[in-house]
Symmetry: C2
Subunit: 249 residues, 2 copies
């Protein structure tokens, strides 16, 4: 039996041999098609619009997450997109941190080369300003290794996770509980005081519920004197994604 790529990767160096070449990639690069408007729309709602929209079924948990990020993240901040996917969150985060002095950074991570390529392609298309585009640093590694990527002296304001499989990609390649737990632990160490870990857990695929259990267990174990852990979920849509937000005091 072939080990899960994430587990393989954890024993290897950065930029490992597992990286697929674009020509061998089995997936289409879906976000090379123009999706600027969608990305902008997903990240544009204020918290009020997003939350009231969520409870009335008009907005998604992703929009609540983006709205909460926007209320916390400032220009010039350093943030981590721990699961780049197709790059929607990466772009939203870039727009939040991009500053004239060029100090903002988005460290984008995904174990799937296809996701890194898709994100890179999407950013190249959506960001006209090269200086701004260069504020995003992309790494095709497991998110449990984020501490090897982010400079030690860089306090991080936000670490964002979108757990599950790559939309439009191979649904058998999913984030898994063991490395997600390690990634959450790493994120909790990297985070600055006042920062957020945001976890959107997709649970409609096999293994999704196990991963939710791990995230909830981690969130519940955080000490109340230094962390606020909360969860937002739909109750009558059992496979709707669950948003868990962890604030370091």
């Amino acid at each position: 039996m072939t080990p899960h790529p994430r587990l393989l990767l954890r024993t290897q160096a950065l930029n490992p041999l597992l990286r697929r070449s674009p020509s061998s990639s089995p997936w289409p690069p879906p976000l090379c098609r123009p999706r600027r408007r969608l990305a902008a729309c997903a990240s544009a709602a204020g918290v009020e619009d997003a939350v009231v929209g969520f409870v009335t079924g008009k907005r998604k948990a992703t929009e609540v997450a983006h709205a909460v990020w926007r209320s916390i993240v400032r220009k010039g901040d350093r943030v981590v997109d721990a699961t780049c996917g197709n790059g929607n969150d990466t772009l939203a985060l870039l727009k939040m941190v991009a500053d004239e002095r060029g100090q903002g950074r988005v460290y984008g991570i995904d174990i799937q080369d296809s996701a890194i390529e898709s994100t890179s392609c999407f950013l190249n298309m959506a960001v006209d300003d090269n200086r701004e585009r260069e504020l995003v640093k992309l790494f095709p590694v497991c998110h449990s290794r984020m501490e090897e990527i982010v400079p030690k002296d860089s306090p991080v304001r936000l670490v964002a996770f979108n757990l599950g499989y790559l939309p439009g990609g191979d649904k058998t390649v999913i984030t898994v509980p063991r490395t997600t737990e390690l990634a959450l632990q790493a994120a909790s160490r990297l985070l600055s005081s006042g920062g957020l870990i945001s976890v959107l857990v997709y649970i409609g695929h096999p293994g999704g519920r196990d991963e939710l259990d791990v995230v909830e267990s981690f969130a519940s174990s955080l000490p109340i004197d230094t962390w606020v852990s909360c969860k937002l979920q739909m109750l009558n849509r059992p496979i709707a994604p669950v948003l868990i937000v962890l604030n370091k005091k």
Copy 2:
């Protein structure tokens, strides 16, 4: 064994014999002391302030609930406070529906006479305008009987529940799963399209978890084509109240 007062009450007429006289009441009327500023503060936050404050530990679930109500309820609406308690929610709701034409109504319900008296006292003190004060109608009955109170031709925009025991009152007198479930069913029938049922479930007392189970089960059973059910809770504060919001499409 003496039956629970709520169960007794369900077999009796409105304004039943169970009502205690003020002189025999064992509780102090805590909200006869000025608490206008507190009540105003609890209901004043916008959704953005309340939600961002909640995820960063600066605001309570009650404030999120009030902020969501304010985004849904309009002047002239009819609303139900299904558990008056000490009247904080009743006052907040009155401020949301009070209109110059005098059409707004708050139907305030509590099985405990002490709660109705406390609420009445609080409103008399906090509301200077008699015409406005008269928009609140108080009923010392079980909330499962709300359909006997609200006029049949009155669509209701919001039904608010604060489940648990009366703050400052007898902690052995609590809302209980069976009648809470009946009350939720009644609320779902009374509610107009676009309206909300808001349930804040306190779980720190014996029986609180059982009641949460019943509320979650009810919320989960609502059909997705006509309802949106969602839940907001703290994960690392196991006895923090849980907010469940049910929107009728």
